[in-house]
Symmetry: C2
């Protein structure tokens, strides 16, 4: 484990740049006492936003939030970083990984905090597409008229349709009971299926066939060198005509030019994206011109009490750290 | 049962005013052969739209569609009417009921055709509200800015929230597995709970308490003299502050002036309506001015292949009729 630094009576210094109310920072402060909380002036809110370098980090034993990678590596006492998001692109480089391992730094993320909200956001996209909500919420069609018949006739039952989950981690697992309750036909994709997933899985060799038969493809891939532009022109061309693409993972896993083309040609019926590249996608980006491309601004993981749950999640891991138990959600060993 | 008229070799005449493609009418024609299909010029599409009187109905043994109530009652040979919708307001009067019973007319509806689509439409509303889709689909918030933090912070997890289903028929039963997969706390309301519903039920005496504790109230009541304006000012005042109201039943069960007031005051967080009174709701109706009132134009039951399933549903019942078996979805005995 290499937790280190948690022996005996030593007072630990916990650096936290999570943006939180005073009440919640008090919750954190009391939760770690008698250990000490260090809070900088400028708080981070997102792994995707830049944060200023803060000298306090250099005094910390533990960091919780989104500090700059270079500052993390140069902090002489730092033994553990808990990233306050699910994604950890900023730290997911070979160089960072090697240096972290060399200095005995444990890195965990907060993915479980956001799993359920992400799963529910993905479901909201599936349902909104099936029921054509963007169109029907603005329609004043009268019972029996052509527009009404068209809206009803183009709505679909999710029941019995097929869905391919790209990436089979915790978000996919949270989606599964709901998809099964809908009696959808669920397949998962991961590079190397383990065989213990409990649903039909495909690996790289079978992906093309799975894409050709899925009514819905939900991209939940994390961003890393292997996943960048994973969904490219060849990928979209293999998807079933009229099928729907969803992305609640990371924007960089999609070749947006290829996606635009597939939507323009109506090879794909629609796309629903919570993540794009860049974020926010500029107002004049070609994807924004398409009536069949629906975009939310990277809010899938959000929910009331999110910051409270985030802090409680850290405190649970902090107790594990003090007791030299294995940390939860570890992403770098 | 009083099916009557189906003995021996007699050729039955089946009147159908359902709007369908030639292919689907052929499916119906072949399905009932050697019995005969009578199709009028003007086809009905909705129980809510007026249809012309058609003299062909007067020759029919069986009617399938939405004929005028007076024409049904005056048709001398008619033994069975299958209404091509879930609602049957047009026929749900004491006078029609008495005359139908007196002349030995069986009346069935097509509710099971629309149950799953209605259930999925209701779920689409719950998810769209939880994820604030009307707002987030038009937002270009940047990670970390105030609008972004607000959107994320006002999104909610359905998981763990409570939902009250007003009316516990087939649509509610279809919703149940999905609500349970979401780990929502589900309660049902019906005037007289039977005790075999499999979920906690309340009757009239306990409705106020149930309204006071539900995060979501889904109205699936049919329209009849008892249900008209069931959701009135007193009803909304009993709902929990900040809760959300949904209607996928019938517009007339809601006092829209009272709903408007509850939404204006933000006593209710939002309303999602697939049905209104009248339909479509005029463009200048006060409910349309509210950003927290979301309206679809009575499309909840619609889905691709709806007319095919409707006809197949009739054909199944037609075989029951020929074999003098009890008819499915009977609504008047």
């Amino acid at each position: 484990m290499g937790n280190g630094g948690c022996s005996g009576m030593e007072t630990l210094r916990v650096f936290c740049d999570v943006q939180a109310s005073d009440d919640l920072l008090d919750l954190l402060r009391c939760g770690i006492a008698p250990h000490v909380l260090l809070t900088p002036q400028g708080a981070a809110t997102s792994v995707l936003a830049d944060v200023p370098t803060d000298p306090l980090l250099q005094e910390a034993d533990i960091a919780f939030g989104q500090p700059q990678a270079a500052d993390v590596l140069s902090a002489p006492r730092l033994k553990w970083l808990q990233v306050s998001s699910a994604g950890y692109t900023r730290y997911d480089t070979k160089d960072f990984r090697n240096q972290a391992v060399a200095k005995g730094l444990a890195v965990t993320n907060s993915s479980h905090v956001y799993d359920q909200a992400c799963a529910e956001h993905a479901l909201s996209f599936l349902f909104a597409q099936a029921r054509l909500l963007p169109e029907s919420l603005t329609s004043m069609a009268a019972n029996g008229d052509d527009e009404w018949l068209s809206l009803r006739g183009r709505s679909v039952l999710l029941q019995g349709q097929s869905v391919l989950l790209l990436g089979y981690g915790e978000i996919a697992k949270r989606m599964l009971p709901m998809l099964q309750a809908l009696q959808m036909d669920v397949t998962g994709y991961r590079r190397s299926p383990r065989g213990d997933e409990g649903i039909p899985m495909v690996g790289a060799a079978d992906l093309s066939a799975a894409l050709a038969s899925a009514d819905h493809v939900v991209n939940i891939l994390p961003e890393n060198p292997d996943s960048r532009s994973f969904c490219d022109a060849a990928f979209f061309s293999k998807m079933k005509p009229g099928s729907v693409f969803y992305n609640i993972g990371r924007g960089a896993t999609v070749d947006q030019t290829a996606l635009h083309e597939a939507l323009m040609q109506r090879h794909l019926q629609a796309a629903w994206l919570d993540v794009t590249s860049p974020e926010p996608l500029p107002g004049d980006h070609p994807l924004r011109e398409l009536s069949n491309c629906h975009i939310t601004p990277h809010v899938a993981g959000g929910f009331t009490l999110e910051t409270r749950v985030l802090i409680e999640h850290f405190l649970k891991n902090f107790r594990r750290y003090l007791e030299a138990q294995p940390l939860a959600n570890r992403v770098i060993y």
